[in-house]
C-alpha cells in the first residue's frame, strides 16, 4: 500500500544544530504552542471554559481514546496499523454486558473486558504476523467482524444493569476534580513512555519501522515484536472498553463507532510518521489533550458532533499535508 518512491538525496550538514535549537524546532514544542493557543482561544470564546469541573469533564473527550492511541503509536511506528480498535471496544463491551446479565461482579467484568481485548488483538496479530497478510485489510475485515458479532448478540437491544461498584472506572473521582480515568491515562502514558523510550523493546520497535529487513538481520524477532504490539493494542482497547462501558453504564453495538479514525488522527497529530519509524509518546499525549480541548471548545460553542468530525478529518489530512507542502514549496524555490 505504501509508495516505494526512491528516497531523496540526503544532505548531511557539517554541524548539527545545538540541542536547544533542535528542541525548539521539534514537533512537541509546536504542539505545546498549539495547545496553549487552543486553550487561550477557548477561554476567550466561552465564559464556561475556565472552570475546574468543566475542564475535568472535558478530559473524558480524550482519556479513553488516548489509552488506545499509545499502543497504536507503537504499532504505527513499527509499520503496521489496527483499524479494528473501535470494534474491539464494542465486542469487549458486549461481552461484559452479557456477563453482567448473569451477575458477574466488577473484578470478573474487568477481566472479561481486558481478556476479550487481548483475544481480539491476538487474532489480528496472528493473521498479520503468522500468515504475513497486510494489516490494513486484515483489520478492515476484523473491524466488520468484531462489531458484527456485537450486532449478532445485541441486535437493536442494549445491555445495562452493571454493578454499582463497576461505575468507579468511568465515573469515579480520586481526589477533587481528578477522575479515575485521568489517573489511568497518566499511568498508561508513563508505562508506554518507559516502554518506547527507555527499553530495548522500544528500540526494536523503531528499528522494525525503519527497516524491517535490516531489523530481522540484526537478530530482532520482528514477527514476535509485531505480535506483541497487536496484543498490546487489543489490551488497551479492552481497557478503554472497561472505562467507556463504566462511564456510559450501558452497551449498544454502535458503541465507540468511528473511534478508529480519531485514534489514528491522535497518533498522527502527535508526530508519529504514518509510514513508521518515528514518533514519541509525549507527542501523542499533547495531541490527545489538544483534540480533547478542541472538541470540548466546539461543544461549548454548540457545534454539532458531525461538524466536529469535519474538523477531525481536516486535522488528520492537514497535519500530514502541511509539512509535505512546505518541503514541496521549498524545493520549487530552491
Amino acid at each position: 500500500m505504501t509508495d516505494t518512491a526512491s528516497p531523496a538525496s540526503r544532505q548531511v550538514p557539517d554541524r548539527l544544530r545545538s540541542r536547544l535549537g533542535r528542541a525548539i524546532r521539534s514537533w512537541e514544542v509546536l504542539l505545546i504552542a498549539v495547545a496553549v493557543a487552543v486553550f487561550t482561544f477557548n477561554a476567550l470564546a466561552s465564559p464556561y471554559f475556565l472552570n475546574a469541573w468543566n475542564l475535568s469533564d472535558a478530559t473524558f473527550n480524550f482519556t479513553e481514546k488516548a489509552m488506545i492511541a499509545f499502543a497504536m503509536a507503537l504499532l504505527i511506528i513499527a509499520g503496521e496499523i489496527d483499524l479494528s480498535v473501535a470494534s474491539i471496544i464494542a465486542l469487549a463491551s458486549t461481552a461484559m454486558g452479557a456477563a453482567a446479565q448473569v451477575g458477574a461482579g466488577t473484578p470478573e467484568l474487568v477481566a472479561i473486558g481486558l481478556g476479550v481485548g487481548l483475544l481480539c488483538g491476538a487474532f489480528n496479530g496472528a493473521l498479520v504476523t503468522g500468515l504475513g497478510l497486510p494489516s490494513i485489510v486484515v483489520t478492515i475485515g476484523t473491524l466488520s467482524l468484531f462489531r458484527g458479532i456485537s450486532y449478532m448478540v445485541l441486535g437493536d437491544r442494549s445491555f445495562g444493569g452493571y454493578p454499582t461498584s463497576f461505575a468507579w472506572f468511568g465515573q469515579g473521582y480520586v481526589w477533587w476534580v481528578i477522575t479515575v480515568e485521568m489517573v489511568i491515562f497518566a499511568l498508561c502514558a508513563l508505562t508506554f513512555w518507559v516502554l518506547l523510550h527507555r527499553t530495548s523493546f522500544g528500540r526494536q520497535v523503531y528499528a522494525i519501522g525503519n527497516n524491517p529487513t535490516g531489523a530481522l538481520f540484526s537478530g530482532i524477532r520482528v514477527r514476535r515484536v509485531k505480535f506483541t504490539l497487536f496484543l498490546l493494542t487489543g489490551l488497551m482497547s479492552g481497557l478503554a472498553a472497561v472505562c467507556l462501558t463504566s462511564r456510559l453504564g450501558s452497551t449498544r453495538p454502535s458503541i465507540a463507532q468511528g473511534w478508529e479514525l480519531e485514534v489514528v488522527t491522535m497518533v498522527v497529530l502527535g508526530g508519529v510518521n504514518i509510514l513508521g519509524g518515528s514518533g514519541t509518546i509525549p507527542g501523542v499525549v499533547l495531541a490527545a489533550i489538544i483534540m480533547g480541548m478542541v472538541t470540548f471548545g466546539l461543544g461549548l460553542l454548540n457545534v454539532p458532533g458531525i461538524v466536529m468530525s469535519i474538523f477531525v478529518g481536516l486535522l488528520l489530512i492537514a497535519v500530514i499535508a502541511l509539512p509535505r507542502l512546505v518541503t514541496l514549496v521549498r524545493a520549487r524555490w530552491a
Partner: protein, 324 residues
C-alpha cells in the same frame, strides 16, 4: 483443472452452492424474477466495486466512496427540489462531475503530496459525511419533494430490466473494456504490479493513481443520484458504512490489496456473492443484524485465501516485508 483454480471459477461455484442451498428450502428465491430483483438490489454495490477495483489495482484504497455517494446524492436531491424543471440528464452529469471532483481531491492528495491513501480517504470520509450535514442542515429530502422524472429513471424498465440494473451491466462492460483495451486501464495494472518498472515504461504512477481515484469518485457520484432516486429519500446517513461492503466485494473477488492483480469479473462476482447473501438472510430467517459479521468473516477468509494464492514460488526473488 487450471480453470478451477481461478478465483472467478471458485466464486461462481460458491455462488451456485449458496443458491442451491437456498433453493432446497426456499424455491421461490431462485425464480428468475426474484434473482433479477436481487441483481437490481446489488447494482449500487457492483458499480462502486468497479471504481474501487481500479483504485485497489494501483495499490491504493478509497474508503470515501460511501460518503461521496451520500454527499452527491444529497446535492442532486436538493438541486432537484430547488429547480424541479431541470432535465434529469443535467442532474446526472452534475452528479458524475461532482463525484469525480470529490474523487480528484483524494487523488491530488495522494499524487502531489504522497499521503498514504488510507489516511487521505479516512479523512475525506468524515469530511464528506460531515458536509452532507452542513449542506442539508440535518434535514431529510423526502419522496414528495422530488420531481416525478427524478425518481422514475432508475425504476423505469427497459427490455424487462430496470435502468439501474442496465447501468450496472453497462458499467461492468465499460470497465472490462477499459482495463483490457485502453492504455489507462493497462497502466492501472502496471503501476500496481511494479511502480518502478512502470516509471521506466513511461507511466507516471501518481498520475495513474489520480485517474483511478477520479474514476472511482465519478462512479460514486453517479451511484449517489441512483441511490437517492431509487429509495426516494436523502439524509445524512445514507449508505453509512457501505465502503466496507465495497472493499469486501473487491477482496472477495480476488482483487489483491497489494495491487496489480484482479479482474473486473472477480469484483462483479464478489459483489453478487455479498448481494445474494444479504438478500437471502431474511428469507432463510436469519436476523439482518448478522450481515456485518458475515461480510467481516468473508473479508478475513478472502484475505487469507488471497494471501495464499499470491505466494506463488518464483514470482518475487526477494520477499518484501508486508507494507504498512
Amino acid at each position: 483443472m487450471h480453470l478451477i483454480r481461478t478465483r472467478e471459477a471458485q466464486l461462481t461455484l460458491a455462488i451456485l452452492a449458496v443458491l442451491v442451498l437456498i433453493a432446497w428450502r426456499f424455491p421461490g428465491f431462485v425464480t428468475p424474477g426474484n434473482l433479477a430483483n436481487v441483481f437490481n438490489d446489488t447494482a449500487p454495490l457492483i458499480l462502486l466495486a468497479l471504481g474501487q477495483t481500479v483504485v485497489i489495482l494501483t495499490r491504493c484504497i478509497d474508503l470515501s466512496v460511501a460518503a461521496n455517494l451520500a454527499l452527491t446524492g444529497m446535492a442532486a436531491a436538493m438541486v432537484n427540489v430547488a429547480f424541479p424543471g431541470l432535465p434529469i440528464p443535467v442532474i446526472i452529469l452534475g452528479a458524475v462531475a461532482m463525484g469525480a471532483a470529490l474523487g480528484a481531491i483524494n487523488g491530488m492528495l495522494v499524487w502531489k503530496l504522497s499521503i498514504p491513501p488510507i489516511v487521505v480517504t479516512l479523512g475525506t470520509l468524515t469530511i464528506y459525511r460531515g458536509l452532507v450535514f452542513v449542506l442539508s442542515d440535518g434535514q431529510w429530502v423526502n419522496a414528495h419533494e422530488m420531481s416525478a422524472p427524478f425518481t422514475a429513471l432508475p425504476r423505469a424498465t427497459f427490455l424487462g430490466l430496470p435502468v439501474l440494473s442496465w447501468l450496472a451491466l453497462l458499467g461492468v462492460a465499460a470497465f472490462m473494456a477499459l482495463v483490457r483495451y485502453l492504455p489507462l486501464g493497462r497502466s492501472f495494472y502496471a503501476v500496481g504490479g511494479n511502480p518502478s518498472a512502470a516509471i521506466y515504461a513511461g507511466i507516471d504512477p501518481g498520475r495513474t493513481q489520480f485517474a483511478a481515484f477520479t474514476l472511482s469518485g465519478a462512479v460514486a457520484g453517479l451511484t449517489g443520484y441512483l441511490w437517492v432516486a431509487r429509495y426516494q429519500v436523502a439524509y445524512v446517513d445514507i449508505a453509512g458504512g457501505f465502503e466496507l461492503e465495497v472493499v469486501a466485494a473487491c477482496v472477495i473477488g480476488g482483487i489483491s490489496i497489494a495491487g496489480g492483480a484482479g479482474t473486473i469479473l472477480g469484483a462483479l462476482l464478489g459483489a453478487l456473492f455479498l448481494g445474494i447473501v444479504k438478500n437471502a438472510l431474511p428469507v432463510v430467517g436469519i436476523s439482518p443484524f448478522w450481515q456485518l459479521a458475515i461480510s467481516g468473516a468473508a473479508i478475513v477468509i478472502a484475505v487469507i485465501a488471497n494471501g495464499r494464492a499470491q505466494r506463488r514460488p518464483g514470482r518475487q526473488i526477494l520477499r518484501k516485508e508486508a507494507p504498512a
